[in-house]
């Protein structure tokens, strides 16, 4: 949150270039396009990308107008292609809808680093780096399953506050969640979709708590909307269940550390991937490989792991948390 005292250098996470890759190469321009930030996670993506690019003296960072409209994102990236940048980092509003655009860039010999939401065709990107939505659901489900089993709860009522239901990522998270719970013999009870905003989280949760007079556990997909979810839980005075967050905001981590709310854990989906994407784009544009790998090329696909943060390990992760 911007009203917290500034900590850890504007909260952006950057990787220092190490080894051979630290030496400046040919100057390159990296175009960057992402959805408009109406959300802490997306804001962190943009911030991380920018901060990472500033690490490199040989990189010119060319971000375009973030937008939540597919047609506008297409127009914006087209201006980058027209400008003949050396590499593109694209977090599309919708992977399918921008696939043809990725193809066009690749056909114009501009390597595309596809960030998070994946294009439909491997021909549309050089490298994909992103989080593991299914794995995130699995992590959350596993934590809840373990904890409930340890407490010997039978037939638990497990609630789920999803993000925007239209997004494939939401559907994957939910699938992972229910698959993981199924392995414990549990099922998802009341499930409602919010919209990644605190206000949506509050509204949906206030009603959902009415639908479930007694809950055992609650998974909320997103720590930004989680602020509202937690507010609704507190306003209803409900304490009989525990809650798991998602994404890994610094705010959620502080709540976990303080251990004075129902929030007991969160599963990460880290916006640090944007920093890595810029680093990858630089390497690809300069025809370099990744330092620690034997291969001379950057791999075509990198999937981040979803870690489970609890009170026990929160101190390790707090520096990576993004401000909502």
């Amino acid at each position: 949150t911007s009203n917290e005292a500034p900590s850890s250098g504007s909260g952006a996470n950057v990787a220092a270039a190490a080894g051979d890759n630290a030496t400046p190469g040919a100057p390159v321009t990296i175009g960057f396009s992402a959805p408009a930030a109406d959300h802490g996670w997306i804001a962190a993506i943009a911030n991380n990308a920018k901060a990472q690019a500033e690490q490199y003296p040989d990189v010119t960072f060319a971000p375009v107008n973030p937008t939540n409209d597919v047609a506008q994102q297409i127009a914006a990236v087209e201006t980058l292609i027209n400008q003949k940048v050396d590499a593109l980092v694209i977090l599309p509003n919708d992977g399918s809808q921008l696939t043809s655009l990725g193809r066009r860039a690749m056909d114009a010999d501009i390597p595309v680093i596809n960030l998070d939401r994946v294009f439909d065709s491997p021909l549309a990107y050089r490298t994909w780096i992103g989080g593991d939505n299914y794995g995130m659901g699995v992590s959350a489900g596993t934590y809840i399953g373990e904890r409930l089993r340890a407490a010997n709860v039978t037939n638990p009522v497990i609630g789920e506050v999803a993000g925007i239901d239209n997004l494939p990522l939401t559907q994957e998270r939910s699938r992972g969640f229910s698959d993981a719970l199924a392995s414990y013999g549990f099922a998802v009870g009341p499930r409602q979709a919010a919209d990644f905003t605190a206000q949506g989280g509050q509204r949906v949760t206030a009603n959902l708590l009415q639908a479930a007079p007694k809950l055992d556990a609650l998974w909320n997909h997103d720590d930004d909307q989680g602020i509202g979810v937690l507010a609704a839980v507190n306003q209803a005075g409900r304490t009989e269940f525990f809650m798991v967050g998602g994404a890994g905001s610094a705010n959620a981590m502080r709540d976990i550390q303080a251990d004075n709310t129902v929030l007991k854990a969160t599963v990460t989906y880290s916006p640090t991937m944007a920093s890595s994407a810029i680093a990858l784009a630089r390497l690809v544009a300069q025809n370099r490989g990744m330092g620690d790998l034997v291969e001379k090329e950057v791999p075509t696909s990198i999937t981040l792991a979803s870690a489970t943060i609890t009170r026990d390990n929160v101190a390790d992760y707090l520096p990576l948390g993004f401000e909502s």
Binding site: D38, A198, A231, S324
Partner: protein, 345 residues
């Protein structure tokens, strides 16, 4: 000012004062309520009853509980407060598309670190001032700049959104002030403070609209602005005031939402303007102005909120919710129109 008291004229000798209003007077309370809009909104009341029946049947254990009722009222309170302001503007012949984002801007401005450091009172003042200021700009652009309300308030929507993002750095600003944070969790006699606030805003709005010269002039301007002007009403100043009222409601709603979500954020209130306008129109206010009731608008808000609540309690998927919601709106309006037609004949 002038020597002829008009009432003395009016009681001039040849006046046939032997003609009292002959219709039997209904009890005063009944009359006040009917005149105030309940009478014209029997259709909406019927729709609410219908929805309640559906709720009792489909979710017998969760729907008809006091705590669920209070949840519905709390959910309705924020958009309800905005709707009160929008009702004024629409009855006065205008429209306000900016309410959702002005509320967001006010919530952000009131929750910056700097503002919060001065404590709750300053935060409240700040939210109200931002709302009133935005309303003032809207009103002046419309009344004196002669920009059509749709465009002026759309521009305000966009600008307020941008300003809110700029100030907040596109992040949720967490409310640390305990007083503001407590508003949403305080209950008096078991009823949340937000519900009281909502009730007070409705009551004040109702009195102003129906029992003051300001309200009367609002109807007059919406009904026929030229006639109002030629009757000596300062139409432009009044128009400015209407948007200020709407802005003030945004300020109040900003405090409420900041407390309810424990954040100030530029994402608050997205599309609230459409919901508020829809509630006003479902409530029977003419989009062209001059006619409408506050009670109708509030019933409209409640219809929307109860629909959402029913869906959540029944754990319906969002796409089914949407399809059904569209159909329910149409049916509600048809019932309402039919009820009104039959009540006037």
């Amino acid at each position: 000012m002038n020597d002829q008291s008009p009432t003395s004229q009016a009681r001039a000798p040849e006046a046939p004062e032997a003609r009292p209003p002959a219709r039997p007077e209904p009890s005063r309370l009944v009359r006040v309520l009917f005149e105030g809009g309940v009478g014209r909104n029997m259709g909406l009341v019927a729709v609410l009853v219908l929805l309640a029946v559906v709720g009792v049947v489909t979710a017998p254990r969760t729907f008809p509980t006091v705590s669920n009722l209070l949840t519905v009222l709390t959910s309705a309170s924020i958009i309800g407060v905005l709707t009160v302001g929008v009702t004024f503007v629409i009855i006065g012949g205008g429209i306000d598309l900016s309410v959702g984002k002005v509320m967001a801007l006010a919530s952000v401005w009131a929750t910056t670190v700097a503002t919060q450091s001065f404590g709750a009172l300053v935060m409240i003042f700040c939210a109200l001032a931002v709302g009133v200021g935005a309303g003032l700009v809207n009103g002046v652009l419309i009344a004196y700049g002669r920009i059509v309300p749709f465009i002026a308030t759309l521009a305000m929507l966009i600008s307020a959104q941008g300003l809110a993002e700029l100030i907040s750095g596109r992040r949720s600003q967490i409310v640390t002030d305990p007083v503001i944070a407590a508003i949403a969790s305080t209950r008096i006699l078991g009823i949340p403070l937000l519900v009281y606030l909502f009730a007070v805003v409705i009551a004040v709005g109702w009195v102003v609209l129906n029992r003051t010269t300001f309200g009367r002039r609002t109807f007059a301007i919406g009904g026929n602005a030229e006639a109002a002007r030629l009757a000596g009403v300062d139409v432009r100043r009044h128009t400015v005031l209407l948007y200020v009222v709407s802005g003030l409601c945004c300020g109040i709603a900003a405090i409420m939402i900041a407390s309810l979500t424990t954040t100030g954020s530029s994402t608050h209130g997205t599309l609230y303007e459409l919901d508020a306008i829809a509630a006003v129109i479902i409530g029977g206010t003419l989009l062209t102005g001059g006619r409408g009731t506050l009670v109708g608008s509030i019933l409209g808000v409640l219809v929307f909120t109860v629909i959402t609540n029913l869906f959540v309690l029944n754990n319906l998927a969002i796409e089914v919710q949407n399809i059904a919601k569209g159909a329910i709106i149409v049916v509600a309006v048809l019932i309402q129109a039919r009820a009104r037609r039959s009540s006037t004949t």
